[in-house]
């Protein structure tokens, strides 16, 4: 069977849902960040697959993927900065104990 756009899109959807499940249910903040990275990667696969199969000459999806990678890099740097600041003041990275905003 020839590999087509659908294969890449279903793989992307599966990877996105795995990442989403982890991001929703993990208690360690670093595990949540890792799951968010998995979701970014899933979206990038979909972007590049669309670019390859729908508009092969334009590379629009690849440009999008480059911007997503940039945002992901900024996000993980800031996320770890917040995490370290939080760990310094609260001594934990468990979301069950990070409840400063709880009423």
């Amino acid at each position: 069977m020839q590999i087509g756009l659908e294969h890449f899109l279903v793989l992307s959807a599966g990877l996105f849902c795995l990442g989403l499940w982890g991001a929703l249910t993990k208690r360690n903040v670093i595990a949540i960040l890792m799951c968010v990275e998995i979701m970014f990667n899933a979206v990038n696969i979909a972007m590049v697959a669309f670019s390859r199969y729908i508009v092969p000459a334009l590379l629009t999806g690849q440009v999008f993927a480059i911007f997503i990678i940039t945002v992901a890099a900024a996000e993980v740097a800031l996320g770890l900065g917040i995490l370290l600041a939080l760990y310094r003041s609260r001594e934990t990275v468990d979301t069950a104990h990070i409840d400063l905003m709880k009423g």
């Binding site: 499940w21 929703l24 890792m34 690849q62 993980v76 740097a77 370290l84």
Partner: protein, 159 residues
């Protein structure tokens, strides 16, 4: 034939890496699995003839983001607690499985307008031309975003 085999192999590596993040108790092993997943995605980019993006994936995700995450694991010393889930594990699984079923149904039932054109190879010069002409404003905004992220990270981590 080779492309088919490569796709299934890379898809297996990518999904197994993601599953290891979800199921390994040791966060270090989860991070190693995540690196395998990133490498699998880089292979998928090569399969999609996105050579520049594959190199960028290896440099940025495997080289920078994974190392940053491992630094985070080491600096927080919480690895003895493992990688627990909250109470929502089963409802979350059901919800995301339903989302996956819906997305897979939509993807497979849509008639995509597949182009018969051969993909552009190599992509680096065409990407550079696109980034510095059509997409020059988002490109500059992305550099400002990175600068803001650098300054923000320094301010946050400073005592």
């Amino acid at each position: 034939m080779v492309a088919t085999l490569a796709f299934w192999l890379l898809a297996a590596i990518t999904v197994m890496g993601a599953l290891s993040v979800l199921f390994f108790r040791d966060l270090f092993r989860a991070a190693i699995g995540l690196i395998f997943s990133f490498m699998g995605v880089a292979g998928l980019y090569i399969l999609l003839s996105a050579d520049f993006l594959a190199a960028a994936q290896v440099l940025i995700y495997v080289g920078a983001i994974a190392v940053l995450l491992i630094f985070g694991i080491m600096l927080t010393r919480e690895s003895h607690r493992g990688n627990p889930s909250n109470r929502m594990a089963i409802p979350g699984l059901i919800a995301t499985a339903a989302l996956f079923a819906a997305m897979a149904f939509v993807v497979t039932s849509t008639r995509w307008n597949i182009s018969a054109q051969a993909p552009r190879e190599p992509t680096t010069d065409a990407l550079a031309a696109a980034l510095f002409t059509t997409y020059v404003l988002p490109f500059e905004l992305a550099s400002v975003l990175l600068l803001v992220a650098i300054i923000g990270a320094i301010v946050l981590v400073k005592e």
